[in-house]
């Protein structure tokens, strides 16, 4: 079982390869879209690399819940409703949604996920606690 630090190192390596960024740029707090420049097609590449690196299967909707963000039941006037935010929290317990919750614009969601969120997600899939 890898440690949290080892998970982070592998995630950093995958993001360096997928996004063509320098290792120093991939900090725990860096956002994938805003800081590292990830575009939508990069998320497919990132998921493939995580799956290979950790030997896990990642349903895309777990990391990138496009189905919620495009569902009229959860979105009104470009903002995620309270029910939608609750659904996102249930789907993504690894992500810190507190800032997003304060101003839940759908267009801002893509800029929410950080490297640390990726680490927490993978650790939860692997059962890593230390």
């Amino acid at each position: 079982m890898p440690t949290k630090q080892e998970v982070f190192e592998k995630i950093r390596e995958a993001l360096v390869d997928a996004l063509g960024v320098d290792e120093e740029e991939v900090t725990a707090e860096a956002t994938l879209v805003g800081d590292l420049g990830a575009e939508s097609i990069d998320f497919l590449d990132i998921v493939f690399r995580f799956e290979k690196a950790f030997g896990i299967e990642i349903p895309r909707a777990e990391l990138f819940p496009e189905d919620i963000l495009t569902n009229a039941e959860y979105v009104e006037d470009g903002r995620v409703t309270a029910n939608g935010v609750a659904e996102l929290k249930k789907r993504m317990p690894f992500a810190d949604l507190s800032n997003f919750e304060a101003n839940p614009l759908v267009q801002e969601f893509g800029n929410l996920l950080t490297v640390n969120d990726m680490s927490r997600y993978v650790c939860s899939k692997l059962g890593v606690t230390e």
Binding site: G20, I41, L44, F48, E57
Partner: protein, 176 residues
Amino acid sequence: MRWFWIDRFTEFVSGVRASSVKCVSLAEEHVDEYFPGYPQMTPSFVLEGFAQTGGLLLGQVNDFQERVVLAKISSAKFHCLARPGDHLSYSVTLETIQPDGGLIKATSHLGETLHGEAELTFAYAPDSVVQTEMFEPAEFLRMLRIYGLFDVGVDQDGNPLKIPQRFLDAEARVMT
């Protein structure tokens, strides 16, 4: 002009690796005209060759049932020029296959010299995006035959690859 970016396969091991060759000729318009006066096989067309070699390697895993599309060039480096008369050897390995697509690594060599290297991401186009087959089956089989895929293709136990029956049926319909 047809979209042929390799001349033929020289090795094809299902789900693992494939090798192909591309002979660079001054008779090709893109070689002659891309940089007038400096004929060469530009890297972008070498990447097309990687994509065809790797895309067919990935597609064959599911008997070409998936619509494999090149989604992203994750990285690409080229170290020297390929000129008319050169013989490029492409080698591709399938790094990972997932429910949504896969990743390949590819290299091109001029003799023993490393010419280029790249990583490509492929996605399977879902039914929600594309409702029909991307290629007419008989035409697609004709391309695979031209590339010699079934002449060299083997499964991981070394047994020759079989041509999918639906392709043979489509070919038979065209012939009659």
